[in-house]
């Protein structure tokens, strides 16, 4: 984020001096001629963007096509001749889709808040209280982050049966933090590290307790980190598939990804229109949320990878 701001500021300063080609962010780019730039940069970039976005366009267009157009090889498939809302109507009123949407929201929001709560305390404890062995705890948090759900779902399924949590939302709310907490803790540790320790020392001298310091000083300063961790955790739990597929069997408790994949496919007849509408509406909430917080999301993604 800072890089972006710096380069923007640099560009602005350069413009003011009337020689933008010498700003930092341009480097030696002014040596490259325009036609060469078009071929080497804009054309490949355009192809990348088209390929990356095409499936979304295809989802949207398929959701609006009447069956006759979907199952025909004639005409131009890239456009809709007679758009219809029939598939969306079927999805919203004849399937349990609204239930799935509600379940996904409940599970994602609850597990996100639970994870953020645990992670804030854990990250503060590891990064700032520095109790004996905190380094090893920090290391093991990072290792926990590397444990993939694909190797945990079988023993977790056995536990979920034993705990009588099978087919409940609670099973998901309790298991999602296993991949959310390591990630959020790791991210927040980085943010807490960047807050000057002097602030804390001042507060300690003024007689504040550690809990007061955490709530009154650290958390307000770490708001960007909290937003990053929250957005990231929310999208991760929204997208989760294997646990929801394994621990849930009744239609009314399913989440959107699992519901769309398992319930909208009936035998050999694929209702492509409704399937695509389901995929689109399941993707939109995260896409919209993401569009508001892109910078936070990207800094969360890159912050977690950079040490």
């Amino acid at each position: 984020m800072n890089d972006v701001k710096n380069s923007a500021a640099g560009a602005a300063a350069g413009n003011a001096e009337g020689k933008p080609e010498l700003t930092d962010s341009m480097g030696m780019n002014y040596l490259v001629s325009l036609p060469k730039r078009v071929v080497s940069v804009y054309v490949p970039l355009f192809v990348f963007v088209v390929v990356l976005l095409f499936p979304f366009y295809w989802m949207a267009i398929t959701a609006l096509k009447p069956d006759a157009e979907l199952l025909s090889r004639e005409g131009n498939p890239f456009w809709v001749q007679n758009p219809t809302l029939a598939h969306i109507k079927k999805l919203l009123f004849e399937t349990a889709y609204p239930d799935w949407l509600w379940n996904t929201i409940v599970v994602s929001v609850t597990s996100t808040f639970l994870s953020i709560f645990c992670s804030v305390l854990a990250a503060y404890s590891i990064e700032r209280l520095r109790f004996r062995g905190s380094r090893y705890v920090g290391m093991s948090i990072f290792l926990a982050y590397l444990v993939p759900p694909s190797i945990l779902f079988i023993p977790l399924a056995a536990m979920v049966y034993k705990l009588n949590l099978f087919d409940t939302r609670l099973a998901l709310i309790l298991t999602y933090p296993t991949f959310l907490i390591p990630f959020c803790t790791w991210l927040l540790m980085g943010y807490f590290k960047s807050i000057p320790i002097e602030l804390e020392e001042c507060a300690l001298i003024d007689g504040a307790s550690r809990l007061q310091i955490l709530i009154r000083i650290i958390l307000p300063l770490a708001v960007p980190g909290l937003i990053s961790a929250g957005i990231f955790a929310f999208t991760l739990s929204w997208n989760e598939f294997i646990y929801a597929l394994t621990f849930i069997s009744s239609s009314e408790v399913k989440t959107v990804p699992v519901g769309v994949v398992t319930e909208l496919v009936e035998g050999d007849v694929y209702h492509w229109g409704s399937l695509m509408a389901g995929a689109l509406f399941g993707s939109l909430p995260v896409a919209i949320l993401y569009s508001f917080f892109v910078e936070y999301y990207v800094s969360g993604l890159t912050g977690a990878v950079k040490e």
Binding site: P55, C118, S125, V147, S150, T235, V294
Partner: protein
């Protein structure tokens, strides 16, 4: 008051102790992680040595599961598929991701907007974008086949998911589509930390663009490449959603990965023990990937003269 005072001071003294307070703060996270991550990790390993079925406790059978799986053609095929899938997809994701990162690092109009839309495939649920790919790969109404037919390149529709090798490459293509944005955006963050003055110096010394990339960009980017590729390999090796939605392992088990096979054996088939053994068999490969990148990273840091941290 005076009676309570010693008690209060004892409590507040305890709370001032870093270790006591530190452990207290760790408690919620540690409870959840130990209960639902560490314990299942151990339980999974144990289950792999038993003949547990769904709804029936198993008995210890030693390495019988592993012996059976070693002789099982489907498991061997799944191992081959997983390695092939991971290897091919990771290399192409790295190449395309690095290329896209270099493009996005250029001085562009709408840079922030471009970066935002490029990351879209990574943030939407994989299971749902896989459904879009399912339709794109449809044997009768595939848009790719339609376009190729129109261009006169093929004469009949391609059965993307119906033939073993076609299905392998189709699933790899979908995996690449989803993974490239992650690689590109994280590498872009690494590129932005490289000071432009290096390129200015190199270009004044007469370095060609390729030489600048080879001798400036690549060495400075290596640490972050190692981390990004470790994550990419981990995600790809343990992939489940894409295969489950697109092919369920078919045709003829040609796209089964270890994860989908363990799901099929454990949950659909009910043999928890056998499934757990397959899942546990993935661990050595994951550890190898992590260790290779860790030591690769260390060597690099040491070469660049970094002090011990």
């Amino acid at each position: 008051m005076t009676v309570l005072a010693p008690h209060q001071t004892a409590l507040s003294r305890a709370l001032d102790n870093r270790t006591v307070l530190g452990l207290l703060f760790m408690l919620p996270a540690a409870t959840l992680l130990l209960l639902f991550l560490t314990y299942p990790l151990g339980l999974g390993t144990y289950l792999g040595f038993t003949d547990t079925k769904i709804g029936r406790n198993g008995v210890w059978v030693g390495i019988e599961n592993y012996q059976y799986l070693w002789g099982d053609a489907v498991t061997r095929l799944a191992l081959f598929n997983t390695l092939f899938y991971t290897f091919v997809a990771s290399i192409i994701k790295f190449a395309l991701g690095l290329w896209l990162a270099l493009l996005l690092n250029k001085h562009l109009p709408f840079k922030a907007f471009l970066r935002a839309i490029v990351l879209l495939p990574f943030i939407v649920p994989t299971a749902l974008s896989a459904i879009a790919f399912w339709w794109i790969y449809d044997s009768q109404f595939s848009i790719i086949s339609w376009a190729l037919m129109r261009m006169g390149l093929i004469h009949e529709y391609i059965d993307f998911l119906g033939q073993p090798w076609a299905a392998r490459f189709s699933t790899i293509a979908a995996n690449i589509w989803r993974g490239v944005p992650f690689v590109a955006i994280t590498l872009l963050a690494g590129l932005q930390t490289i000071s432009p003055s290096f390129y200015e110096a190199a270009s004044l010394d007469g370095a060609s663009p390729w030489q600048q990339f080879r001798y400036v960009t690549l060495p400075l980017l290596t640490p972050i490449i190692a981390v990004v590729m470790t994550f990419s390999v981990l995600f790809t090796f343990t992939d489940f959603q894409l295969i489950y939605v697109l092919t369920r392992g078919g045709p003829l088990n040609s796209t089964h990965l270890m994860a989908t096979l363990s799901f099929q054996r454990a949950i659909s088939g009910g043999s928890l023990g056998e499934g757990a053994a397959i899942a546990t068999a993935m661990v050595p490969f994951l550890l190898a990937a992590i260790l290779i990148s860790y030591f690769g990273l260390q060597r690099r840091a040491w070469q660049q003269g970094a002090a011990d941290k």
